[in-house]
Symmetry: C2
Subunit: 340 residues, 2 copies
């Protein structure tokens, strides 16, 4: 049987993005006359029919997908954006809910969503252990970002060990030997992996990690608590007899707090203190100095999670993917490039 043409095929033939094809199909006003024509020609040529994927849905199922994330920070918002775009393909709608880093609340949300007969759940777990049997949810579950060590589920994650390794290497290359590491909560897989990458990079430079230079931001519910955690970590480490000369700060909110502390101490980045942050955001285009950042492919992770969910539902296959992190080199880490 000939494979049915997808939105992807249409986009490829029309030489436009999936989003544009979707806009044309939804009669949104964004596209130019020319683009609309090109998309319509591609649709005709391929014999694309919009409802093919919708028709394949089982009867009685809703067209809703549930996303359960620990909080509403911008990283998860960007994942949600990717999920929404990909869901266009399947005629699914997305509802999102936050567990606020509580596994009790997370489990309650999964139960509620299952009871509403959602078509599937994408979950970034609050802790690295699922305290309930996997099959307590009637909806299939795909993990995103964070691993569970006691459940075999499809997962789309980022290669945090490698990302952290690259960032630490960059600071070493710029002459830093005492590098402060600021991590989120110790109980989640991403934290463990980011710590590992840091330790590996130091080891490659014959430096033994100093535990006094590794801090957890403390308690991680709420935006303000995370910013405060980053702030306090810098203040504490700068008060050490032998303070760090650079910081690697492993999430967006911790980073805001850390930079705030550095500014209050009247230290200049990168002249007095080298700095690498985590998660790229639009405001970093206008920040001063421009920050070197370990960037996560959050949007792409969201898209792949939807594809993994579709695969799980249609074939039962357990897809796992680990996406590379990108080190975006700007000025805050110093001027020496890793390739110098």
């Amino acid at each position: 049987m000939k494979k049915k043409p997808t939105l992807y095929d249409v986009a490829k033939v029309a030489n436009v993005s999936i989003a544009t094809v979707s806009n044309v199909l939804n009669h949104k006003s964004e596209a130019s006359e020319k683009t609309i024509q090109r998309v319509n020609e591609a649709i005709k040529k391929l014999g694309y029919s919009r409802n093919e994927s919708a028709r394949s849905l089982k009867k009685g199922e809703s067209k809703l997908i549930g996303l359960v994330v620990p909080d509403n920070n911008p990283f998860f918002t960007e994942i949600l954006n990717g999920i929404q775009e990909e869901c266009e393909l399947y005629d699914w709608q997305v509802v999102a809910a936050a567990s606020e880093e509580s596994s009790a609340r997370q489990n309650q949300l999964i139960k509620l969503l299952s009871a509403q007969q959602v078509s599937g759940i994408i979950l970034a777990p609050a802790t690295d252990t699922l305290e309930i049997p996997i099959d307590f949810s009637s909806a299939p579950i795909v993990l995103i970002d964070r691993e569970l060590h006691n459940a075999e589920l499809p997962i789309i994650k980022a290669d945090n060990v490698e990302g952290s390794y690259k960032a630490t290497k960059m600071l070493l290359r710029n002459g830093h030997k005492r590098i402060g590491l600021i991590l989120a909560s110790p109980g989640i897989s991403t934290t463990v992996q980011r710590k590992q990458g840091y330790i590996d990079a130091l080891k490659s430079a014959q430096i033994k990690a100093d535990e006094k230079l590794i801090r957890y931001g403390g308690d991680y519910t709420g935006t303000k608590a995370q910013i405060d955690g980053g702030y306090q970590a810098v203040i504490n480490m700068m008060n050490l007899p032998s303070p760090p000369t650079a910081f690697f700060v492993t999430n967006h909110l911790l980073m805001i707090g850390a930079v705030k502390a550095i500014k209050e101490l009247r230290l200049s980045i990168p002249r007095d203190i080298g700095f690498i942050g985590f998660d790229d955001h639009p405001w970093q285009e206008i920040s001063d100095p421009p920050f070197t950042i370990v960037s996560q492919p959050a949007f792409e992770m969201g898209r792949l999670a939807v594809r993994a969910l579709n695969k799980l539902k249609s074939t039962g296959e357990i897809v796992t993917a680990s996406l590379p992190l990108q080190l975006i080199i700007r000025k805050s880490c110093g001027t020496k490039n890793v390739n110098d």
Copy 2:
């Protein structure tokens, strides 16, 4: 009959926040021993029982509340945070979905959520007209942020006319007579109101608004499109024979684009160009220069919307509230205070 004690009453008696009471009830680890004791004493004293509000829920109803917003920008995320906190009181869980500024998609989401028997829907509409009868949703609807001119529903909004008036006045006070105004999409109530406040403030200074200094950011789906819209608006206006000496930019993403353009033109804020933005965010604590901002009480708006929903469900009352906007004065608008 004696009124049943609420979480508010417990918080008041224990002299802690609602969030803290909720944390203690949920056995989260944030609170100190002392606080836990104080909260438990207050609970005992008042005879508070956690499930009072849950018990009042009609049978067959889910414990889910749906939030439908135009997009996932940080303003709506903060509204969602407020909604989540308030929902603790009613034992409701929140699911959020984005219409992507499409009223067709918005209406589809409302139908889907109704079909899932959510307890209620909080809606920031995509356009200022509801193209379907209000009662097409079996769930009660409360509006947030944006008005509908053809439906009488409870609404929690901000006083955008007044907020915009105050910002424009501040720029006038700092000697600016040609003030560029950058607005979002023309089809929504908040845009109309922000334009009105600007025109009123100019009129109070005997200045007639120049239409060439009022721009809409163009097409508003997606983060990148909005940033580009703010960027282009600045470039276009700075190319006028008589360009503006200051900008008032009325949302967060437009603002990032506008500042990017100003930096590329190598103009210094506030020396060469006065600037006031919209929506306060954590990164503004570390931005350079610190930006003067019209700040919306997004978190509080979210809380009040949940209360309005509860009121609507329990008594049928149509609550409306218009919250004041705050002008947070930092350095980007110039040094003259409105009170000088």
